[in-house]
Amino acid sequence: MPEPLDTQRLTWMLTQMLRIREFEERVKRTFEEHPGVIRGHTHLADGAEASIVGALAALRPDDHVLTTYRCHGYPLALGTDPNAMMAEIYGRSDGLCGGYGGSMHLTDTARGFLGTSGIVGQGIPHAVGAAYAAQISGRGQVVLSFFGDGASKQGAFHESLNIASLWKLPVVFVMENNNYNVVTRTEQEDANAAAGEPLAVKATAYSMPGTTVDGGDPVAVYETVGAAVDRARSGEGPTLVESLVYRLSAHGNIIAPPGIPLHFPEHEAITVFGNAEEYEAAKRGDPVPRFRGRLVSDGTISAEEADAIAEQVQAEMQGAVDFGLKSPFPAPEAAVNFVYA
């Protein structure tokens, strides 16, 4: 069983959730306040903070994490410098990857965040490879593989879970099920969802435990993922954890050719399915203020402390925006660096 969370850890978790929320808000606001600065397609993790932080709270510093294009939240919680992250999203030379990757490909190997693919499902086999490496390196490392519900229909998901189970690899598969794949609802594309079943049932095809958890409750996620991490670390093999989350922003900013200002549209629940009530209910259940409220009401921290953290976080992320805006662009000829190692 994972260690119970003490005040310090709970406070850390709230802080990380606030940091992720504030960072993502600043990314979104950049589209309005500094048009043209963010190019391409960016995907935000607002709504998933509890799931991200709860899962990462179960890790040791030398564990590894791999995820998808919706990748801003994880490195923040792992300790990556938000200045470098924002500069990367702004395409600057001080960016985490020198401006080479952008929003979808954040990498911070020093913090175990090994490399992010933007192709749905294709990072899952990468995580399995890192878990294979962890197994034979013998240092007891575990790998967390994050992906969305859409990825569970990719062949890569099937092949990876089969092998991870067969070789008893130290990996935990965390499927963040936000019920949407861009403009498609999960029950439109998944036979299990269409039958009203949780997606965790897919685990039964791979001889591994599958479990569903409320991704809006960071403590519940911590306990569930923590148990799976313990299982993996002790050599018993992988687990599939389905974490139910609600994405509070649209899938990503609009896709448009140069010349048309980019922005974040409303959530697809409203724009495609006309279901404003679903969205409003999700906002009412927003995990970040919910967790803050819980910690304050059960006396873990005071309202003042919570406010102070929030203020600090706002200053931190404002600093990230300022840093990013001031950071120079890479020289054009730098484009031919790093083709080959």
Binding site: Q154, A191, Y206
Partner: protein, 295 residues
């Protein structure tokens, strides 16, 4: 079943004599599944197979002479010598093909099933594949969609416990293929593939349901692959069955029909098929250029 057995034995001889060249996979031991399944189908039902396809093709109605001519690279072959053993196609009899890509035809069967559903008929699609294909991503992508759209496709897995040269245990923790699809809303059944009657009964149930608008289904047939993965495979990785053990798994022996007439007739038919195949000339090279694109 004897037609297939006699055919495959002849192909084995011709391969060893270098008259059939390239990569050949024989289905000796699989006759019960081929006949149990294909014998229940109509010409307008669509069948796909994998690389071990001779038996399926013949059971679906492809003339042995045309199949053999194809294996011998002749003009009179099903595909005029262009395809060979792993690429047999006989559209007239609804055999839409073998493939060399493991699991590669499973999505194609979904397409045929979808077409059948859209056209409003009661024909169905069937696809054969081995246990090795089930671990491939293409398989589960297909199962999800087939289940989601309730397509009239019957997935027939011949589980002979080996994928090429490795036993199933090297591929997955899940012994039964039907357990791999267990999470999905798909009808599934496991039968003894060496018992042609049992195969026919189980398959017919699925077939009737699919014709009536149901689907998809998975029929797992436990079989024994008598030979190697391909002709020439020395099979150092498994123990050969003793003759009496083979008789106990051989679908022909298990049917228990003592009449030699069936066998003799089959062998005569295959002798004639060989004569016809040999009489067919090699194709003209210009054929290739004409067939690269459809006109």
């Amino acid at each position: 079943m004897w037609r297939i057995r006699a055919f495959e034995e002849r192909v084995g001889e011709l391969t060893r004599a270098n008259e059939v060249h390239g990569l050949v996979h024989l289905s000796i031991g699989g006759e019960g599944v081929a006949v149990g399944v294909c014998g229940a189908l109509r010409d307008d039902d669509v069948v796909y197979s994998g690389h071990r396809a001779h038996g399926h093709a013949i059971a679906k109605g492809a003339p042995p002479a045309a199949v053999l001519a194809e294996l011998m690279g002749r003009e009179g072959g099903l595909c005029h010598g262009l395809g060979g053993s792993m690429h047999l196609v006989d559209v007239e009899h609804g055999f839409f093909g073998a493939t060399g890509v493991v699991g590669g035809n499973v999505p194609l069967a979904l397409g045929s099933a979808l077409a059948a559903r859209l056209a409003g008929g009661d024909n169905v699609a069937v696809v054969f594949f081995g246990d090795g294909a089930v671990q491939g991503g293409i398989f589960v992508e297909s199962v999800n969609i087939a289940a989601l759209w309730a397509l009239p496709v019957i997935l027939v897995c011949e589980n002979n416990g080996f994928a090429e040269f490795t036993p199933r245990s090297a591929h997955t923790t899940v012994e039964r293929v039907s357990d791999v699809v267990a999470p999905y809303p798909i009808e599934r059944l496991t039968v003894d593939g060496g018992d042609v009657r049992a195969v026919r009964v189980a398959f017919s149930q699925f077939l009737d349901a699919a014709r009536a608008g149901g689907g998809p289904m998975l029929l797992e047939c436990l079989t024994h692959r008598f030979g190697g993965h391909y002709e020439g495979d020395a099979q150092q990785y498994r123990e050969r069955l003793a003759a009496d053990e083979w008789r106990r798994v051989d679908p022909i022996a298990r049917l228990g029909i003592a009449d030699h007439g069936v066998e003799l007739e089959a062998r005569d038919e295959i002798d004639e098929a060989e004569r016809v195949a040999r009489a067919s000339p090699f194709p003209d090279a210009s054929l290739m250029e004409r067939l690269v694109y459809a006109p």
